[in-house]
Subunit: 111 residues, 2 copies
DNA sequence: GACGCTTGCTACTAAAAAAGTAGCGAGGTA
DNA sequence: TACCTCGCTACTTTTTTAGTAGCAAGCGTC
């Protein structure tokens, strides 16, 4: 699938509204998880494979290329890591950690 | 695919850590977009189809069932709408709107 | 300089998910 | 009765992801 590039047609928007490009990108399998894992710190390819349990190398590589192209990650001394942009994106989604715990609790008590 | 239920094995976590269940859910095609669109207000099935350009009815239905099961949306008077939980989740991701605009700008000026 | 080990991948096939399209049954309206 | 719209289901094709094997390059050892 093509890179979800702002300005070009993407899933959910023929005109490529940035938010839709972003949601398209983040909506791809493992995208969010890779960003989440990289926030723990840079990692080599194989290390990242371990952090993401069970991701296949081909898909990991594909995602890494996408995220690299869209400048959310890049290659650093210790391997792949979040760029400034990637970090600022992570700051937004970081609260999902706590939120998900409450959500899990809610789902439990409520069924 | 099975519902990404906290506590059960999900993509990225054999133990079903809530955050991983959430990232699995949100990482599915159109999930994030549906939530995003529903924040504009409740919508009937067909209305939602229009808001999400080009989503197929079968997939929309599948996503709606998932989101309903996980209590992020429910059926209201005017159609599908975000639950309290759904709204609190949206509040977290809402800043993605502005962020994506800056991201788009950055990608433009920088290539 | 041949050895064994790790790393970053590529290549390939099988399985699963998503796209795309037709249309049904229920309900309202005229 | 005829004609809408609505919420979907059923089905086929296309695309994505999973899963697995293994290669080429770089290191350290002896």
């Amino acid at each position: 699938m093509a890179l979800p590039t702002p300005g070009l047609p993407v899933r959910g928007s023929a005109t490529g509204k940035p938010i839709m490009a972003l949601l398209d990108l983040l909506g791809r399998t493992w995208s969010l998880a890779v960003i989440w894992q990289l926030n723990q710190g840079p990692a080599t390819f194989r290390e990242l494979q371990k952090r993401c349990e069970k991701i296949s190398p081909s898909l990991l590589n594909k995602r890494l290329k996408e995220l690299k192209s869209l400048q959310l990650i890049d290659i650093q001394e210790q391997g792949y890591g979040l760029t400034q942009q990637g970090q600022s994106l992570f700051k937004i989604i970081a609260p999902l950690g706590l939120w998900s715990d409450q959500w899990a609790l809610h789902l439990q008590t409520d069924n």
